[in-house]
């Protein structure tokens, strides 16, 4: 199958910002990674990197981002399909390999739709314009007399022709300039803003979806790796005698630590003919570790230390007005301290990767959120050039931020190179719980002042937490700007506001986990605001709306504006949907929280009861304003899932370290929410024509504080620390 060369496309792809500086090879836009998948005897037309139309009318659309439950393989192609008026039933979605020519592929930060909505519409518009031009040429009529509808170009005379029949002519045409592109009126959208079924649901339901863990190559070896219990510890010596006696174990080798943020931790790799033998062989290993400096890490003691640090002056992150004055003049002050533990991502599919280093090339199949980052790490390790490295993206059995860090890919490449065979490295669940990139541990201190009328006059937020930056720059021991902003941008109309950060060195790998810094900040701000409402005998809803204050655009120093009217709107809708203020059954109470993150506005009202001192969440009323919605089904699903994710961290989420080693092991002691614990989650999506903003993460931060606020309403007791399992409440 030959692709079409059209050098003019290079400048086009660059101009829409998809190339991120890389040269586009116009001859290499074929989407097929293996020949057998290519339709036979078809002529095809590739107007751009993301669209291929075949002469039988079938259309292949490229998903450049990773599918991990985020619905991106449905949403991104649906935007292209809608704009080009393609028949959804004729579309196949193909996963892109990791390559800069696709632009930013890092499926993280709730960015896919936010970044790619406009470019994908443009991809569709180009295809549409070229098909219309092709029809006009064939019929010898002006293009203006042609329109497009459901996979056909239609002439004003009534004659029509299918997309597939235009491929031969379309492929000879020049790419239209921007000014020649027309876009649909949003009211004519067929897929965008609707409930579109996921393109992969059937494959998920019948077991045919290939996750990283399911990738098989002939002669592939299975590998388990023993890693030091303490972060960055190293192998002193090891005894492989017993491991080699396990049936199926082929070899045991030491692998180096790669001292990079996403480098391998290093350790001892057991190579076997099947996963189970590799796991058993690993158990049978005897390794003498040099634990290194982090063996001192005791997360309980550490929590006391960072709590002390937030009870004294810290580095200033934001300072408006005069907080000391406000406190001095206050009629009343309130202060609280919050402590939240480390969390683990624990996606259902453990980290794993297949790698095959063969001669001077390397091919990888991995569940990765960031194939370009994986490609870079592999290229660096092999000291080769990127064109020698292919990263195939499989389905991800959950990501939540864990799988944007390709340390496990590097491990597979190290072992494959060492033994000169294709390998699959599989982490045990215990490996996943113990050796991840943990969500930070945090202590926070908040203090507020009131004047004699009960108006909040001062707000101090001081926090200490090991920064994500410590993973990239060892030794960094204060929060970075992006970790300060969600506290600094608190949308309250308060005259005197100060944010300070305390010292907090890292002793484990710190990474981002679904909604990241918004977990601690969304928690403390929402719980503390509720506390202030009760301290002044105000209804928490009314109090919060007043605290947010007048409608305004907050000065967040960001191109996307923080609109307090939209923030209040989601809170009001959530309250309305829950019928806030209504008489609830005996022993039930509502709690609320509202938070802005990833440029989206989310509020949740939760209904909680307590029976025999156990918490039960009955209903969650969540509202999101994420601007333009591409797939309502996905947004609803993400909000439903975010409620469960938020409940998990409220109920059970706690990773602890002793002598530097993580104490939890598996889902038995790092518990998940189960079906008997779930509430009914009611989701409303605000209708909006604003730019699309984040969806995957913003639903998480509000859940835990809303639960805590409901518990307070019910019991008069305020829980400042999570998880609730520590109090035997769940």
């Amino acid at each position: 199958m030959k692709s079409i060369k059209n050098i003019s496309r290079r400048s086009f792809v660059k101009s829409i910002g998809l190339a991120s500086g890389g040269l586009i090879l116009a001859c290499n836009t074929s989407v097929f990674s293996d020949k057998e998948k290519a339709p036979e005897n078809l002529i095809n037309f590739n107007p751009n990197l993301f669209v291929q139309i075949n002469s039988d009318g079938s259309v292949i659309l490229i998903a450049s981002r990773s599918e991990m439950g985020n619905g991106v393989r449905t949403s991104l192609p649906s935007v292209i399909a809608d704009e080009m008026e393609a028949d959804w039933s004729k579309i196949t979605v193909q996963q892109a390999v990791g390559d800069k020519k696709y632009g930013d592929q890092n499926t993280d930060g709730s960015r896919s739709i936010r970044y790619l909505y406009e470019p994908m519409r443009k991809m569709g518009a180009i295809a549409k314009a070229m098909l219309i031009a092709a029809a006009a040429q064939k019929w010898e009529v002006p293009a203006a007399e042609c329109s497009v509808e459901n996979h056909f170009i239609i002439h004003t005379s009534g004659k029509k022709i299918g997309f597939g029949d235009l491929v031969e002519i379309a492929k000879t045409l020049e790419i239209p300039s921007d000014t020649n592109l027309t876009y649909k009126d949003p009211k004519d959208f067929k897929y965008i803003g609707k409930h579109l079924k996921g393109v992969d649901v059937a494959a998920y339901a019948n077991g045919s979806a290939i996750f990283g863990l399911d990738k098989r190559l002939s002669n592939m070896k299975f590998v388990a790796i023993a890693r030091c219990p303490v972060a960055f510890g190293t192998v002193k010596s090891f005894d492989k005698t017993r491991a080699l006696k396990v049936a199926g174990v082929l070899d045991v080798i030491e692998i180096p630590r790669i001292e990079k943020p996403f480098g391998a931790l290093g350790g001892v790799a057991v190579i076997a003919t099947n996963t189970w033998a590799a796991f058993k062989g690993k158990e049978a290993l005897k390794v003498d570790w040099d634990f290194g400096d982090n063996k001192v890490y005791d997360s309980e003691k550490y929590m006391s230390q960072i709590t002390e640090n937030v009870h004294k002056l810290g580095k200033v992150g934001k300072d408006i007005g005069n907080i000391n004055n406000a406190f001095k003049k206050a009629a009343k002050t309130i202060e609280s301290t919050f402590q939240l533990p480390h969390l683990a991502h624990a996606p259902m599919e453990v980290p794993n990767a297949v790698a095959w280093v063969k001669d001077d090339t390397c091919e990888v199949w991995a569940p990765t959120q960031d194939p370009q980052s994986a490609r870079k790490e592999v290229t660096d390790y092999l000291e080769t050039s990127e064109d020698k490295v292919t990263i195939n993206v499989t389905f991800l059995g959950g990501g939540f931020g864990r799988k944007s860090k390709p340390d496990y890919v590097v491990e597979a490449v190290i072992v494959s190179k060492a033994i000169n065979a294709p390998v699959q490295v599989v982490w045990t669940r215990e490996d996943d719980i113990k050796h991840g990139y943990f969500h930070t541990i945090s202590a926070q201190y908040l203090k507020a002042s009131f004047d004699k009328n009960g108006k909040v006059t001062g707000w101090l937020h001081r926090f200490a937490l090991p920064s994500i930056v410590s993973t990239f720059q060892p030794g960094v021991d204060f929060a970075a700007g992006f970790e300060i902003s969600s506290a600094a941008n608190v949308p309250f109309d308060i005259e005197n506001l100060k944010v300070e950060v305390g010292q907090a060195p890292a002793h484990v790998r710190i990474g981002w986990l679904r909604s990241v810094i918004n977990i601690p900040h969304g928690f403390s701000i929402n719980v503390f605001a509720d506390e202030l409402a009760h301290a002044t005998n105000k209804d928490p809803l009314e109090f919060r709306l007043n605290l947010i204050g007048n409608d305004r655009i907050e000065d967040t120093n960001d191109p996307i504006k923080y609109d307090t009217a939209r923030l209040k709107n989601v809170l009001k809708i959530a309250a309305k949907n829950a019928d806030w203020g209504k008489q609830l059954p005996e022993g039930h109470a509502y709690g609320l929280a509202v938070h802005y993150s990833f440029y989206s506005y989310v509020a949740s009202v939760v209904e909680v009861s307590m029976k025999n001192n156990k918490v039960k969440v009955h209903n969650v009323y969540s509202v999101i304003d994420c601007g333009t919605v591409v797939n309502k089904n996905t947004v609803t699903a993400q909000m439903e899932g975010a409620a469960i994710f938020g409940m998990q961290l409220a109920y059970y989420g706690k990773i602890t370290a002793k002598n530097g080693a993580i104490e939890q092991n598996n889902y038995n002691d790092y518990k998940m929410i189960r079906i008997n614990e779930i509430p009914q989650v009611h989701v409303e999506i605000v209708e909006s024509t604003e730019k699309p903003t984040g969806v995957g993460e913003p639903g998480v931060p509000v859940i835990a504080p809303a639960i805590i606020n409901a518990i307070f309403k019910l019991t008069g007791k305020r829980y400042y620390n999570l998880p609730l399992s520590d109090y035997d409440l769940v």
């Binding site: 059937a202 077991g207 959950g398 669940r429 079906i675």
Partner: protein, 152 residues
């Protein structure tokens, strides 16, 4: 040699007798729809039907499955196919990884209970973790399946 009957097909395999059924199914026989999630029998990702009973295949040795009928997610059973249809229609899966185990557990439930209540569903599905949090749709999809069955 150990002979396993999976989805109506016989497979003779040469493995250690204590190898958990999960790994025989995935790594030796090559049916990868059955998933590894925890390896200690607490997540349900590896559920299969063993003579119609839902079993966590990571917890039983291959020898315990000899002479029995194993049904995996790739297999056929009336309730499984009906449930798969509801899973699709209600767009249950997010990442999809745990869903084979969820569907097997739900199949076992409907095989025994034609009209499960929410409590029955909780009891049957409590052993299956979904990190994406699709439980609400799982419950709804089971109810939908029952409703369609009762209508026909």
């Amino acid at each position: 040699m150990i002979t396993l009957q999976i989805n109506g097909e016989k497979h003779a395999i040469d493995v250690a007798p204590e190898m958990p059924l999960l790994w025989a199914i995935r790594d030796i026989i090559g049916l990868t729809g059955t998933k590894y999630g925890c390896g200690i029998g607490v997540c349900g990702s590896c559920k299969i039907l063993l003579d119609d009973s839902p079993v966590q295949s990571c917890m039983i040795p291959v020898t315990a499955a000899e002479g029995k009928n194993i049904t995996t997610i790739e297999g056929q059973s009336k309730n499984l196919q009906l449930l798969q249809n509801s899973w699709e229609e209600l767009n249950v899966p997010q990442c999809g990884f745990c869903q084979p185990g969820q569907l097997i557990a739900a199949t076992a439930l409907l095989d025994k209970n034609e009209n499960p209540t929410d409590e029955d569903i909780d009891e049957a599905m409590i052993g299956n973790i979904c990190r994406c949090g699709t439980y609400q749709r799982i419950r709804k999809a089971i109810h939908r399946t029952v409703k369609l069955k009762n209508q026909s």
